[in-house]
Symmetry: D5
């Protein structure tokens, strides 16, 4: 099942610069893993913010939460999740 | 350029049923055209509502508005548009 | 998969009283069917409103939308959907 | 009487990791007790957040507050409480 | 159990004046009955609106909903309900 | 004149426990004084929060502010004030 | 006692033009009366809307509601009321 | 003085098509006049809506309101107005 | 030109008490100066908060910003600004 | 393509004064550069806040994000981005 996931990251202003760099590097690595295993189907940066929106694939909400809470920045995020259903346009294309 | 577009349709409760069916049929046809010409890259139904969210491709906001206002249900919609930037994960994949 | 579903019904003030009674009677019948087939796992009235909150079971968001849009009052509703994941308390109980 | 209770936990980012683990362990134990004594009738994790939604049973709002404020993480929570009434579907089932 | 109940009445602008007078007269009568039977413990007008806030006493949310939906203007209301718990000040007074 | 006053208290998470106990003890004493002098006509705990709602009596908004800012926890509060007018039900009762 | 009062007028789009002119003319007359008797202490137009903000003087919220509900456009308004207290600057000036 | 003005137009769904065309034609003419006399300094369409945002020049808020209420669609608009001050960047450029 | 200005002051909870007293004393002095030079035309305390609402006179938004940013507490404020236009009631009075 | 960009800067209250001055000086320099290279087409101060609104030109959302995240104060900002389309008034002028 697919979910629209919007993630806003709010790093503390007083985070040590080295720790911040390391955290964001680990975040990028974890993101690449989730891309490779098919969990993150698509992802975009929201301009002007440390934020993104993406399409995530997971068996159910429990599996989605496991993936989201595996993100190194999870403790600093505000995450919105919208379950996605098939759209009639896609059904019409599939039926043709 | 890509945009995240969320569309909520609010048809008047007293719309004539035949007119409503015709309107939604024309909406589906226009949607299929916009899929075929590459404007609608992806689209999903939001469960529990006459609403959808999609990824639209347009040269700029002027072209996007032309596409959105070509929808037969445009007069009955509330539309949210978010411009999308490339995400570091995608850049890292492209660079590898 | 389970979803928390909140439904606010807004019937037009000028709806014919007989039509209104008939609509609500059909709504109750459809609700009882959805209870019997296991789609509505639990449901409560929100006091002071023609509104309810419930726990719905559906294979995915597409199946959930099919169930919600089968409600006779669907055209008059504002519906909120929250996907539900397993809670650690329930996992701890299941593991004991 | 039943209440829909949504709990968002916001732990301080600078909480000591050991203290955090201990706090969450005590929270889980208290949750299991409230399940066993019938206060928490059902509970789910909201995906993407340290948050949950549940159905709580308490004699009245005073008893509910006593249960909620007994949670070890209470000082870090934002809690929403909605009183729940019997739904006509449930009344129809009970009457059949 | 007590509830804080805020009621906003939105009568249609095109309501027949005689019907409007009759409706508000019946509303006042029903309000007086609910005062006499102890359901409405206290009630105030919110200045500048056809709105009020009150303290209602009901056995539970189901009984509260029955009282609220017995109001002649119920179809035109937006109602907010907050369950009320005993305050430590009141407990301290009771204990002295 | 009467006011509906809702008070949300947000104590800093790192407040010294002894200072916190002392602050809340002084708050309770001040509350009892305001009850005895007739300023706080009624007060309830909002379940699930360090919050309350009450009916306050004061000559005007200036006197109300003096009472509210005399609370020991005032620096940590978010306070909402709604002026209350006489309701037609109460006027009808007074006139009978 | 003084109140900050913001009034948004929403006239129905299908109001008869002659009726609309008459209504606004009577509104202006009533406003001038309330100015002369000292109820409206000051009033401004909010640019871009059929809306205003003003400082009203009334003995209490009951008297304020009587004044506000005497406006010919009252049935079409959304009104916000904020009670006003004396400011330390004004107290300092008065004391000098 | 300059103002940021955002205008959302909500035409009634049942507006006669000929009347609608005429209204929008007159709106365009009035807009062109306001451009020529220097009132509308810049204006953009918000994609996906009958809405725009612009920079308006007017002597003060009274003159701005006169210009805005001269729009043929004024009765159907929701308008937001933000006064604009000179930015330090512009002051630095002017000073160089 | 006149502006409605609402100012919410949020002093840090850990501000040194002496510094806080000094800051508020300087704030009062600056407020009295702005009163004397005609910038603050009227000002009121919002009951229950370290907040006020006032009517400010300034040549334009640039001059208003200069006045507001001269407040000693400026770094701790959240300020709302609404430009004010002449109201038809005032115009009718002036014309009589 | 043009974007309406609103930037709210929230500097930590405990930022070292020298660091704050340096940060704002570098911010001004970077702003002047973005003006000179045509990225910031226009910019205004929002009165009463460390906030601005501007019209930015960028090839797409990715380029816009690069410009915004190059601001020295970026870590302390809350930024809103609205894509701008050509308005019919401008098209009519261009076509004449």
């Amino acid at each position: 099942m697919e979910f629209l996931v919007s993630i806003q990251v709010r790093l503390p202003a007083d985070l040590d610069p080295a720790e911040r760099r390391d955290l964001l590097a680990r975040e990028l690595q974890r993101g690449l893993e989730l891309r490779r295993d098919g969990t993150i189907r698509a992802i975009w940066r929201i301009p002007g913010a440390l934020a993104n929106v993406g399409v995530w694939e997971a068996e159910d909400a429990t599996a989605l939460h496991a993936a989201l809470s595996s993100l190194p920045v999870f403790a600093y995020t505000e995450i919105g999740v919208t379950p996605l259903a098939r759209h009639p346009i896609v059904e019409a294309e599939a039926g043709s």
